[in-house]
């Protein structure tokens, strides 16, 4: 198909920074930020041979250990399913629940909004019901819970678990979902529709995505190798993460900007010149009044699919100076789909806080499309401005710009 897209002509005006009050993430490399940082520094991958489901397809996955042994507390039992459990595990890290409770005390629970991204939500529970339909063709008794068979399931669970009463919404734009929630939070705060917003994303392993990506022939039989010239595809991972955003610039870590765009090209392939992705980068930088030359670190989408990495490598080579350190962390976590935005935003915030910028695990020989920005090895220096990029099926792009406070 010929690209027919009309480029949005003008970049947006700068927006006020927002405070990232706190954040957390849980994935195959650990529960919470401390474990995540240790695994990144130790180059310890969370990928393992696919052992999910009855007849696992030959691939590697980023599976969070211990979900099966971590049921929800009884008052929340109506939300039981793998996605809710993963969300709950993540909420329990980094004092996140307490910090949200403090925000509710400051502002009132009806002034704290919730926007979560997911691609498949708790569809694993629906799959399970279909494997075990009762003799009359209905859902088995223990899965007759409508609240877990709809895309909003996980967000509604988190809203109840945190006791929030503000606006509450699920964003489901495939792999950009939990990046786009930051943009939504900015709008909720700017219009004074909320005083604080919990953003995040949750996606757990399920047959739909493992067999679906297998049907698209996008799964790598080996641990994924982002930006490697002989990469063979993606590994599916699962993750959950959350951040609490408020107006003001009091925090050490700030959301400076975001850019959203559409490829208008293809349902499951990126635009060959990355046209939509470039607009998203341009708009994130414009909202943050930041030139590309000021970007110290980029957490790339870097799925290790042939097309994504080729397009993204060219984009980075063409838009950023050689000194920008860019890398993909999918070799640690796998592609966590609707949770990739928040997981990688969390890793970007760790880089801003500590100065530690991960390399690209499992990549040995860089694709020739890569410029000097894409790094195999980690490095440490002062990180003042950083981007996190997320691109999804349906041509949905979102780029987030974070920065350190005190130097704006």
């Amino acid at each position: 198909m010929e690209p027919t897209g009309a480029l949005p002509a003008l970049p947006p005006h700068p927006t006020s920074p927002l405070s990232v009050v706190c954040f957390t993430a849980t994935s195959a490399i650990g529960r919470g930020i401390a474990q995540t940082e240790i695994a990144l520094r130790a180059q310890h991958s969370g990928l393992r041979r696919n052992d999910f489901g009855a007849a696992p397809v030959p691939s590697f996955i980023g599976r969070v250990a211990g979900i099966e042994a971590a049921p929800l507390p009884q008052p929340l039992a109506r939300w039981e399913c793998r996605n809710s459990r993963l969300a709950w595990l993540a909420l329990l890290q980094d004092d996140f629940v307490d910090k949200v409770a403090a925000a509710c005390a400051r502002h009132g629970a009806h002034r704290v909004a919730l926007a979560l991204g997911t691609s498949t939500s708790s569809i694993g529970a629906t799959e399970e019901a279909y494997r075990d339909l009762s003799s009359d063709g209905g859902f088995p008794e223990h899965l007759r819970r409508p609240e877990v068979h709809t895309p909003h399931s996980t967000t509604a669970f988190v809203q109840q678990a945190l006791g929030l009463f503000g606006p509450c919404i699920t964003v489901a734009t495939a792999c950009s979902s939990s990046a786009k929630v930051f943009a939504q939070a900015e709008r909720l705060l700017r219009t004074d529709t909320a005083d604080a917003v919990v953003v995040g994303g949750v996606d757990s392993l399920c047959d739909s995505v493992v067999y679906g990506f297998n049907a698209l022939e996008l799964l790598s039989p080996d641990p994924c190798r982002p930006f490697d010239c002989s990469r063979r595809g993606i590994n599916i991972g699962e993750a959950a993460g959350f951040a609490l955003l408020e107006r003001g610039e009091d925090s050490e870590l700030l959301l400076l900007g975001y850019g959203e765009s559409s490829d208008a090209y293809h349902m499951s392939s990126p635009h060959p010149e990355g046209l939509g992705a470039r607009v998203a980068v341009r708009d994130a930088l414009a909202r943050g009044a930041t030139p590309a030359a000021a970007i110290d670190y980029i957490n790339l989408h870097g799925t290790a699919s042939q097309k994504n990495d080729e397009v993204e490598a060219k984009l980075v080579a063409g838009m950023f100076p050689a000194r920008t350190h860019a890398s993909s962390t999918k070799g640690w976590t796998g592609h966590t789909l609707g949770a990739a935005g928040i997981l990688e935003a969390a890793i970007t915030l760790v880089a801003l806080h500590t100065g530690f910028m991960p390399g690209t695990l499992n990549c040995e020989q860089l694709d020739s499309a890569c410029g000097p920005q894409i790094r195999l090895r980690e490095s440490t220096s002062h990180v003042q401005r950083a981007l996190s990029m997320s691109f999804g099926f349906g041509g949905s792009n979102c780029v987030l710009l974070f920065g350190r406070g005190g130097c704006a």
């Binding site: 897209g5 909003h152 529709t193 349906g394």
Partner: protein, 270 residues
């Protein structure tokens, strides 16, 4: 943000259901509740798609494109110039049923096309591909509160970005065993183009606010048998059909409502 900044203008409206096929017919039926619905209309043809894709396009794509296109046309806006918000309670229930049934019997038979059409943003993705629109879209859900939550996001976007926004809300018929947990009948789609400034296309002024209310709103709209899951769009569309000033309180959650004050604008003759 002051109340006067929480103001948008409606420029175009689209509505489609088998018994409400298009805004002109629907407006007459919604205005006069005693009116007899016409015989059910056949599924709309997604005319923006290439001819060989029209018949096999999912219902979600057919109904959402029908109302999105109608709203843009009524607004006199080029679809390529509009950011969009697509809202659906359950997404593509037919594909979800297909996926779960296939995965339960023989996962190796899963269709790659059905898989990439199973994402919640498939309708939005096809819309931007068909129209060549590179403006951002989002695809959202909020269970019983989906219509109001999606409308709030569209209002936020138009207000924050000072750009017109296309809002599209739709759901389709539930299939198989899933229908017992996620009930929805027929196809229903509604769309409006919201603009941050009054232009000659504007037909309504809308003042909006999200308001916490002392009385708990409960679980939100409950569906009656035979309802589409997006039936919560109908109070707004009915108010628009009546062409009289109106105030609406759409439930956004427990103790939270989206308040809309609707003021019809005089139309230029012809």
């Amino acid at each position: 943000m002051s109340a006067s900044e929480r103001r948008v203008w409606i420029e175009g409206i689209g509505l489609w259901a088998a018994h409400l096929p298009g805004w002109d017919i629907a407006r007459a039926i919604l205005r006069d509740e005693a009116g007899t619905p016409p015989a059910p209309a056949p599924r709309p043809v997604p005319a923006l798609l290439p001819p060989n894709e029209r018949r096999r396009a999912p219902d979600t794509v057919a109904v959402s494109q029908e109302v999105a296109h109608a709203a843009c046309k009524a607004a006199g806006r080029d679809p390529r110039s509009l950011a969009s918000v697509f809202a659906s309670v359950h997404g593509d229930l037919a594909i979800t049923h297909y996926m779960c049934e296939t995965l339960a019997s023989d996962p190796s038979l899963l269709s790659p096309t059905k898989f990439h059409n199973s994402v919640h943003n498939a309708a939005a993705g096809y819309w931007t591909i068909a129209t060549g629109c590179m403006q951002p879209y989002t695809a959202v859900s909020a269970w019983h509160h989906t219509f109001a939550a999606g409308l709030l996001e569209a209002l936020l976007q138009s207000t924050c970005n000072h750009d017109p926004v296309l809002y599209v809300a739709y759901d389709v018929e539930a299939r198989g065993a899933l229908a017992t947990m996620a009930p929805s009948s027929g196809m229903l789609g509604a769309a409006v183009v919201l603009a941050p400034e009054r232009t000659c296309s504007a037909s309504w002024q809308v003042d909006w606010d999200s308001v916490s209310v002392a009385q708990a709103g409960g679980d939100g709209p409950h569906l009656r048998p035979g309802d589409n899951a997006m039936a919560a769009c109908l109070p707004l569309l009915t108010a628009l059909a009546r062409e009289a000033p109106a105030q609406l309180a759409l439930p956004l959650g427990t103790g939270l409502e989206l308040h809309l004050r609707l003021l019809p604008l005089p139309q230029e003759p012809g």
